[in-house]
Structures are given as C-alpha cells and as structure tokens.
C-alpha cells in the first residue's frame, strides 16, 4: 500500500487492525473519539470485536477479561478517562496481562479541557495505579511513528506480558499527515500464550488469571518477578533519538508534539548561528537515561520543554546526574508552545538577541 492522508486517531486505529488486534473496548472522550469511531465501523469488517462499554472502568475490565483469554486487545481514551482506567491497569500488570492502551492526552487536572497536553507524564511513567508496576510507554512524534509503534506495541505487550501505553497528545490525535500503514515493523519472538484462560480444551492444568496473593512471601516473590521485567526494559529497551548533536552547545529535551516544535526552533536557531540539539525520548518508561551519557562534551546546557508545568523534568534531573545546568519551558492547559517561544528561551540561556 502506498501513502494515504489520515487523521492521527484514524491512523492509530487502523494500525491496531494491521497488528491483528482482536478486540477493542472503550468509552468516548474528546480528543480521541475518531479512534473508537473508526474501529466501530472497521473492526467488524475485519471480523473483530468492537464494544462501546458503559464506562471507562467497564472497558478496562473487559480488556482484562479478553487479554486473560489470550486475545490481542486495545483500549483508548484521553487523560481523565485514562485516570479512570488505572485500577484495571494495575490489576493487569499484577496479573501479567498484555494489552495496548492509547492515551490521547488533554489538559488536566480533573476534567481539564479538550486541548492538547502532556500533563499525564507522571501518571504514565510512575505506574498510575497501586502497587509496584510500570507500563512500557511509547511517545511517537509523527503519525508514521505512531502507526509503526502501535503495530509493534502489541508484540511488546505480549512479550513482556505487561500493558503498553501509547502516549500521544491531542495534536497527534487530531492532526493529519501522510502515512504508510504497511511499513515492516520489528517482530518480537513470542511464545504461545499457554497461560491464557482460554477454555482448557486440552485438559491441561487449569490456568488462573489473578493478582491476589494472600501469602506475603508469595506476593514479595511475585513483585520481584515483575521487577525483573521492568529492569530488563530499563536495561535493553530504552528508545530515543538524538538530533543535530554535532557541536551542540545546548540540547532541548522534548517528546511527542513538543519535539516537533523543537525541530522548527532549532532551524531558526541555526540561522542565528546557535547550535542546538534535541534529545527526544521515544520510551517514557523506561526513560532513555542512556541518551544523556551520549551527549557531546560541547553541550553546556539542557532545556526541557513540555506541555505541562514540568513533569518529565524530574526524569531529566535524575538522568543528568548533576552534570549540566537544566532550564525548563512549559505551557499548560492546552496551550501549545510556538517555535519562537522556544527560540527565545534558548537565547535567554545562551545569550543572544530576542527573536521577533
């Protein structure tokens, strides 16, 4: 298939179909509505399941059930809806169930607003629900990358037996870009799901999907077993992109839509003779700490740019290990920073005349 022009939410929905997603359970919320709308029409055309649940809580528990039965499952929502799903996500991580969750972030806290935001960073990367667990979290910056990562995300979820979150903001959900849905994406080496509660047709020992451990020794053992997975993610599955690093004197750390805007900013800066790079995390968990070790010695400053009041900032502080001074520029509430604002912040740090 050649390229088509798609809206982010539609493209992400179609990517899930391409990844052989068996079932979608969800509940509407702006700005991700085109995603379930698209699947409501197209899942049945592919012989797959689509259910509009009565609430987000119902939807995530349907995801739990279907994943427990061995299906490839997707749900999607936006910030307040994702907040409602946290209990289910914690249960899924505890029960080691794979699923893909797409979060098209909007402004918060509470009901917030419908405009784009990156203020769910901590909810996404710090577990979100109760207990010792993490979600493998991917943050694409283009529709093509979103499509490719979603296709791979189902494999990643199955591989780790852990929920995978696709973290995009409302802009990625609503914007249009040319995409090719059929680019080959990495295939992970997957074991058959012998753990699934799928009817026991071969009379094996029964499978139980469960996150309850009444013996604390068992629960501790289980917790450390989960930790091994998260350590493996941290060790071998960090993803990031380093952009324009040669002789960079300052590096912007930004992900998703914000890194797109940073790309425009560094073009303007290069016209002014300022060498500015971008460190773009692709995984939010595991955080690409390794990237900070690869920054050239010419870098004298870091600037974190987010559509929040400063959430990823904490991970940059941890990863930087007190080496470089860190500045922050954030817009919140659904306001998207303009390239010029980022340019002026960089100029303020490195010294230079204000950009009009």
């Amino acid at each position: 298939m050649s390229k088509v022009l798609m809206k982010g939410n539609e493209a992400m929905a179609l990517a899930a179909i391409k990844a052989d997603c068996d079932a979608f359970y969800g509940y509407p919320i702006t700005p991700q509505n085109e995603l379930p709308e698209y699947l409501s029409k197209h899942m049945s055309l592919h012989g797959k399941v689509f259910v509009q649940a009565e609430s987000e809580v119902a939807a995530i528990n349907m995801v739990y059930g279907a994943a427990g039965a061995g299906a490839r499952v997707l749900t999607s929502s936006s910030s307040p809806g994702i907040a409602l799903k946290q209990e289910g996500l914690s249960y899924m991580a505890g029960s080691e169930l794979p699923a893909v969750i797409i979060n098209v972030m909007r402004g918060g806290p509470g009901l917030g607003g419908i405009q784009p935001s990156q203020a769910d960073y901590k909810q996404i990367t710090r577990g979100g629900g109760n207990g010792d667990y993490y979600l493998y979290a991917l943050a694409p910056e283009t529709l093509q990358e979103a499509v490719d990562l979603i296709k791979e995300a189902f494999d990643i979820a199955d591989y780790f037996r852990n929920p995978v979150m696709i973290a995009v903001d409302g802009l990625i959900g609503q914007m249009m870009e040319p995409v090719d849905l059929d680019i080959e994406t990495p295939k992970w080496d997957l074991e058959p799901k012998t753990w699934a509660a799928d009817g026991n047709l071969i009379n094996r020992k029964k499978n139980i999907i469960n996150s309850l451990y009444l013996d604390p020794n068992d629960l501790e053992k289980h917790s450390f077993k989960l930790k091994e997975k998260y350590d493996e993610m941290r060790k071998n599955h960090q993803r990031y992109e380093l952009i324009n690093m040669e002789n960079a004197e300052i590096v912007i750390v930004a992900y998703g839509s914000t890194s797109r805007i940073a790309r425009s900013a560094i073009e303007i800066l290069s016209e002014k003779g300022i060498k500015c790079g971008i460190l773009r995390p692709i995984t939010l968990f595991p955080y690409p700490k390794k990237a900070f070790g690869e920054l050239p010695l010419t870098v004298k400053n870091l600037l974190v740019v987010e559509m929040s009041t400063g959430q990823m900032l904490d991970d940059v502080i941890i990863s930087n290990e007190c080496r470089l001074p860190i500045s922050f520029y954030g817009r919140a509430g659904g306001i998207v920073p303009e390239a010029e604002e980022i340019v002026n912040k960089v100029l303020e740090i490195v010294g230079g005349e204000k950009h009009e």
Partner: protein, 217 residues
C-alpha cells in the same frame, strides 16, 4: 461565484482551510463555521485573521468557551439565507452528523439557485480514494441535507509530499464522478509551494495558504 457556497466533504478533506481561503480571496461577508465534529483545527480558531479581512465569523462555540465541546450552533447561521445582500461560505463538519447541522437553516432558503453545494475530495483520504467511494460520500451528503451537490473541489494532496502527477490522477478520478453526476469541478486547490504547476487543471485554480494547520505546528 454564487452568493452562498456550502463546503462539504469527508472529514479531513480540507473543508476548513478551503473555506477560509475562499472567504479571504473572494472577499466574502460571512464565514459560517458549522463544524460540531472536530475539536481542533476549525476555521473559528482564525477569528482575528477573519476580522482583519472584514469577514464576519459565525461559529458554533459559546463565546469564550472554545473548548466547550458542545454541539451548539449559533442561530446567526440563518442570516445569509434570509438577507439577500450578504455573501457567505458555510463550512460543514465531516461525517453525516456534520452535514445534518445544515438542515435547520434550509427551510429559509428563498432561491436554491443562489447556492452552490460543493463537495471537497482528496483521493488520498482512504474513504474517498476512488469514484465509487466518492459517489457514496456524495449521496450520503445529499440524503442528509436534501440538497443536490452542484460541484466538486479537487483537493488532492499528501500535504508537503504532493506532486503534480498526484493532482492529475485526482482530477482523472473526479472527472469520472463529474460525468456520472453531471456536475463540474468548480475548483482545483493548489498549495502555495506548488503554485508553479503548469498543468491546466479543471475549474478555477485556488492557491491555498495553510492558515489553520500553521497555527498549530
């Protein structure tokens, strides 16, 4: 150009950018944004630009509540239909729900010949990639609004990756549709960057500035 132009099309076909460009280039009095489908990228986000161009914006958001996400439509949308001295462009939302919004005003139409009801088509949108699908989309719009589509807009594009050949291919598909329905291709949309394309496209050539997308990224 007729006094009233209604721009329809599948969502993501380019209706809002075209509406704004037409309104500015043709010095239209009213731009009526009836999009209750999209939460972002709507012509109403350009209120300042439109005001500067003396275009009166009628929008479907309660003042000061751009993010209200309510399917509210201002009654002011009827004005161009009842006042024959006003020229207007109506920017519909995509999908059948978007089209239905228009119906409430149509019983006030005095002379149907004053209205052009155009369908915007981009063959790179999967839902309108061939003549059959385009005809389905058009019959859906006609069924929902009870209005006959009177012309087509060729908006074939892959954003920055569009080639002249793509646009010629788009025109070929639209010619099939045009012959079937006996309606003309009224406009061919050419992006500013591509304005040196030499091919003699059907309909009026409208050079498009991306106002809405640019505001965001």
């Amino acid at each position: 150009m007729k006094r009233i132009t209604i721009i329809s099309g599948h969502y993501g076909s380019g209706k809002s950018e075209i509406s704004v460009n037409l309104a500015i280039q043709k010095k239209i009095d009213y731009l009526v944004d009836l999009d209750i489908i999209n939460p972002y990228f709507r012509s109403r986000s350009l209120d300042t630009l439109l005001e500067k161009n003396n275009i009166h914006l009628v929008e479907s958001t309660i003042k000061g509540m751009l993010g209200s996400d309510l399917p509210y439509v201002s009654g002011e949308g009827v004005v161009p239909f009842v006042n024959p001295s006003i020229t207007a462009i109506y920017d519909l939302g995509g999908t059948e729900n978007g089209a239905r919004v228009l119906i409430q005003f149509l019983d006030r139409v005095k002379d149907i010949n004053e209205i052009d009801f155009l369908c915007t088509v981009n063959i790179f949108r999967p839902e309108t990639s061939d003549a059959t699908k385009i005809l389905q989309t058009i019959s859906m719009y006609e069924a929902e609004t009870q209005l006959k589509v009177t012309g087509l807009i060729n908006n074939t594009n892959l954003m920055n990756e569009t080639t002249e050949e793509d646009m010629i291919n788009g025109e070929k598909i639209l010619i099939e549709v045009s012959k079937k329905l006996n309606i003309p291709i009224k406009y061919t949309i050419i992006e500013e960057n591509n304005k040196d394309y030499e091919y003699d496209f059907l309909g009026e050539r409208l050079v498009l500035t991306r106002y809405i997308a640019k505001r965001w990224l």
